[in-house]
Symmetry: C2
Subunit: 394 residues, 2 copies
Amino acid sequence: MQYPGFDFCITDQASDSAARCATITTPHGDIPTPNFIFCATKANLKAMPISAIRAAGVDIILSNTYHLMLQPGSAVVAGHGGLQEYSRWRGPMLTDSGGFQIFSLGHSSVADEIKGRRTGRGNMLYGISEDGARFRSYVDGRAVELTPEKAIQVQMRLGADIILVLDECTPYHIREIQTFEAMERSHRWALRSLQAFQEAGGVGSAGLQSLYGIVQGGIYRKMRQISAEFAGEHPFFGTAIGGCLGSSTQEMYDVMAMTMDYLTPQRPIHLLGVGRVEDIFRGVALGIDTFDCVAPTRMARHGGALTKGLRLNLHNAVHVNDRAPIDVTCDCATCQEGYSRGYLHHLLKAKEVLAMTLVSQHNVRFMVRVMLEIRQAIREQRLAVLAKEYGVAL
Amino acid sequence: MQYPGFDFCITDQASDSAARCATITTPHGDIPTPNFIFCATKANLKAMPISAIRAAGVDIILSNTYHLMLQPGSAVVAGHGGLQEYSRWRGPMLTDSGGFQIFSLGHSSVADEIKGRRTGRGNMLYGISEDGARFRSYVDGRAVELTPEKAIQVQMRLGADIILVLDECTPYHIREIQTFEAMERSHRWALRSLQAFQEAGGVGSAGLQSLYGIVQGGIYRKMRQISAEFAGEHPFFGTAIGGCLGSSTQEMYDVMAMTMDYLTPQRPIHLLGVGRVEDIFRGVALGIDTFDCVAPTRMARHGGALTKGLRLNLHNAVHVNDRAPIDVTCDCATCQEGYSRGYLHHLLKAKEVLAMTLVSQHNVRFMVRVMLEIRQAIREQRLAVLAKEYGVAL
């Protein structure tokens, strides 16, 4: 299958790792990679106006199908001309298929499970069948069904440039055979997703779209191989690495590496839901092109400010009288305006929402700069040197 | 008393009303009047970065002594170089004396009382004596005392350009004699405030300051006369109209008018806590120079968007599919970016704090424009015509 309006062009290849620079072309603009996709879950990057996102140098954002299909509904977004117009971002966007959130409802929380944690969240997943999944809406409690076809239909209405097949996300604490069965079902769902996409002509509410496949297989090399080869055999524009990545950082790196052994390098590769700076350096060195994670912005809203090699907790009373900005070397709007750590501490303590905006725009700019530096380092064949500056041994 | 660094210069006088244009010069910049003072209660205009406040064309903001003396404390603000540096606003600022908030603790809520409403708020005011008032901190419950001298000391540490004497605010539902006694005590407190200010040399943490007197006297013409003449006889830089303004809009206009009959016109005149567009037109026609009110920003945070002659409730489901901005003729950042009513409705419904920022910057710009138009209209001798455009009969 062709993806008109889209292109993936590798421009630089590291000599000492699989790291590469590339450009993903989409109808709403180009994305230089490696890059970070910021999470605008409900069609907004929390507490940040589009002007601030642009000013921070962001290239691409993502929204969540699960949240938006329930509120305001994909038809409403389509009526507004798609997510790009609705949010006023008007740049490249990605939507996930909703699978991750829905299946996390059933297993305490897949997000927790994937990291090996156990929580007691109530079960809002009614059931999974070959057809799809039924779950309870977090907005109004009504029963909602999501099938591969519906996931595509909803994402075509939402209109993001890059959309994903529906997959079944399995947690860490299940048996190998269950992971296998879920992977096989995910493959069947991927084919149904692809067919629905092709039948609809690949044109969403905001123009042409491209479809990514997702690699499952949990922590098992053989399954990762099967799933990666499956994805590669079908005409997806790109590949996302999904599913359970293990219960420790080391296990995650192992799963990332074993998956990359079998992935088609000619397509853009996205790692779902991973975004710590050290994880990004590891992923980039393996040849992964894009990453996403709520951490930089969620952390910001709770007073966690990112700096090179150190996370600042602005809630800490040590900052009360500190007149310095978060980072004197930072060119973000917050540091450039001269907002002090002491003032940000005050806003956080007083529960002023302005704190969310100010720390978020710092963290977003921080991540944008990390990715800029990574691309520069790859071009100059010194990724490992840069990683070391961030305290990461590649 | 002289106020070095300050000046008040009347530039235009309406021929058919007492309305006037003037300039208040302060060490942090000039304020063209009539003007609106936006409320940055806890040293920030909620949900709006300084860059957005500047972009909206704001000339002056105010912070509340009551809130800031408790959190983060005036010494902390002084250590940061005063409110202007702390907040990064770096323009003209005003602080109130804390009296209004403290006395509102004792009488259910003076804010409600002044508008003739009754509520059941618990009593957090321990007592009022000739010396001052004792109250319970809303932050940590400890007992705090505020005297006229302390109100000045705290405001000098906060460092606003314009500061206010401590006054006792009385509610609507008390006897005339109590209003009289409170007024007389407020006068004694005003003299103590003035003395404390003079003894300290009028220099706060951010440089030279000026002191406003406050006119009390409730709804009684004779008392308003006594209080206005008292304020005029003492060397305050400006005069604020405070106290109970009655229980209806008409009564408020009557109190405003009777007070203006006795006020020194050579000084800037501020009307405390009043800021509906119709009230502003009335006040301007009486010769009032500045106004403040939380309404434009508070309303915004709850989805109320100001337009000429109409308040839009963006929470209303009628907006779901509306692709139009709040006001097609508006030049605020929100309308110019093209954020639609439908999208703002979605953000409000999803409880996204970005909605607060986007609607606030619209309402702030709306008020700034109203004041710009009022100044222009006074210069062109057509204030009544402009008022009519806003549905106000002068």
